[in-house]
Symmetry: C2
DNA sequence: TTGTAGGCGTTATCAG
DNA sequence: CTGATAACGCCTACAA
């Protein structure tokens, strides 16, 4: 493979000039640039990114830490991140953790090892380095694109899960529902907790008492939504609506209802969260909260670019909150009069 | 940041020994290794991957080129690729192309530029370098994880879309359907063509005449499945079953049918393709063909690792074909007797 | 506007 | 088993 020296020789200039022609063309005479470009085309030269990176101490990669990418919710974030990265000559290194904290820690050390310049977190876990900060100024650039404890001083982008969840419950209450169940996500995630507390807030605003028996826990998967709905149904408590912590569980729940012969929305209203594309084509189409997932990814990557530009990553971190909005479709409706369930 | 020289000094050895201790510990006396490890822990040393890469002329990255990752089908592949990459100390660089051939070509030149060691293709397009091969031995390592023209000499992994599609149609015919429609993918993709020709093969085997009027074209999206079904319905042709080229379109089609008051499977059987998780929870649960998407990704990455080990990438390329299987759920059933549609 | 030269941090070769 | 040292290819003062 040709290198910068070869180009210099063929173009009859020094390597410095070639390097400048490539990175700061304004400093080089146009005629010289032309000769250099001809040589580059001739020799099929491609700058060695490893060598440049070693010299400049940066890899132009960001790691995205995500438990799994095999679901529409997280892959939307990643798509947004990649969009912005690509537009800024950076690359996205996929860091799948499978929820393992040790794997996550490896991603932070990859930054020290110059395999990447920063880390975007889409994970319930936090790397050790956040809890045990190293010497000042040694903190790797990090951005959080999901819910974390509020006292955490990290640039972050998110939506207001708390409010959004209350919004859904408000919608259900407005329709006239008095007994509104919830299917939550795994409670070791801040996002799930936020959505659950939003559910409680929604009840409070509607002056409906919270009833522990109406809360079932899932893990955000279709199957867990199905299972949670079956448990709710079998428990014998009365309810006419259910607010699910994401669309997948809502669709799982609808599947369970259909199997039990309970009609949505006539006998049961179901609401989701996230606005996956599948929800619009569910049967019936799913009422949900739109979360701008791709945009969150884009904003996260922009925050990362900012961090990379800044000298130190100390000081109060920026927080970007993106708007959600309720999307009412046909899976929610007013409850039937005096409906009783076995 | 500490470097190998610092470690060498603190441990009282030469840099060569440190390097060996890290990469080939068997060549170093255990006691020496211990001293080195102590120094590494002391100084919080992390090997500089850029420097190592420059020296060894490899980045330990693979690019995966994919039109978009924001859908369950492609993200499953990528998940599989990452799984195997991670287990082999390699990283996945996300290369989203948005279907743009120029972006794809950039990914091939990134290999020349040592940003990555190889390219895994999950794209309908082929990079120019495949069609205009450079000098012998200069071909970057590539693996195809999707359908391409059969004469293409690239290591590849796939399923038999042709047979699988015929299998679905066979299932429908066996149920007694005589008028089986098809909703295809975009016909500029080999995969769509394969699935379409499999549909024709299935008809042939069932001794059913092919009818152009029963074929509607989509683009693999939910919306396009919905639209295609509406077109089919509005065209006035008679049919009692539809084989869709993927699950998303099948679910879009079911949504259209529901809206038109046509019952699945009583009035219309619907079959999908891919076995997305959503299909199992669709209403009714979707009959489909299981494609081992994650496994295909894993196999593709293994093929890539093999390519990287081999000196030259010439000679006949390996092909791995993974098995599919029909999954019969409730969206398909025998047609109603003497059913007529307006 | 251009050239010279000293690293960036490793690995690998060659001696010992 | 260990050490000295020459690359790997580029960038960037500093000089001209």
């Amino acid at each position: 493979m040709a290198n910068i020296k070869d180009i210099a020789r063929v173009a009859g200039v020094s390597v410095a000039t070639v390097s400048r022609a490539l990175s700061t063309p304004s400093l080089v005479r146009p005629a010289t640039i032309e000769r250099i470009e001809a040589a580059i085309a001739d020799l099929n030269y491609e700058p060695n990114h490893l060598a440049a990176g070693l010299r400049r101490q940066r890899s132009d990669n960001v790691i995205v830490a995500v438990p799994s990418i095999y679901n529409p919710f997280t892959s939307a974030f990643v798509e947004g991140i990649e969009n912005v990265a690509r537009a800024n000559r950076m690359r996205v290194l996929l860091g799948i953790t499978e929820g393992d904290p040790e794997t996550l820690n490896k991603y932070t050390s990859m930054i020290a090892g110059k395999q990447a310049d920063g880390l975007i977190l889409l994970e319930k876990n936090l790397p050790d380095i956040v809890l045990n900060p190293p010497a000042k100024g040694k903190m790797p650039p990090m951005v959080a694109a999901c819910e974390y404890p509020p006292d955490l001083n990290l640039p972050r982008v998110r939506t207001d899960n708390h409010e959004a969840s209350a919004l859904v419950v408000g919608h259900l209450a407005e329709l006239g529902h008095k007994h509104i169940a919830a299917i939550t996500g795994p409670l070791d995630q801040f996002m799930s907790m936020d959505r659950l507390s939003g559910y409680k807030l929604g009840l409070l605003r509607a002056r409906i008492d919270f009833d522990e028996a109406l809360v079932a826990h899932g893990d955000f998967s279709l199957q867990s939504g199905y299972d949670a709905m079956i448990r709710l149904l079998d428990s014998g408590v009365e309810f006419t609506a259910v607010a699910c912590a994401n669309d997948e569980m809502a669709m799982g729940a609808m599947s369970a209802l259909q199997q039990r012969g309970i009609s949505v929305p006539d006998d049961m209203s179901v609401a989701g969260f996230d606005d996956l594309r599948f929800g619009a084509f569910a049967i019936p189409p799913l009422t949900t909260v739109h979360i701008p997932t791709v945009e969150i990814g884009e904003a996260a990557m922009r925050l990362m670019l900012d961090s990379l530009l800044l000298q130190d990553h100390e000081g109060p971190a920026r927080e970007v909150v993106l708007p959600h909005r309720l999307i009412v479709r046909q899976s929610t409706a007013a409850p039937r009069k005096r409906r009783k369930k076995a």
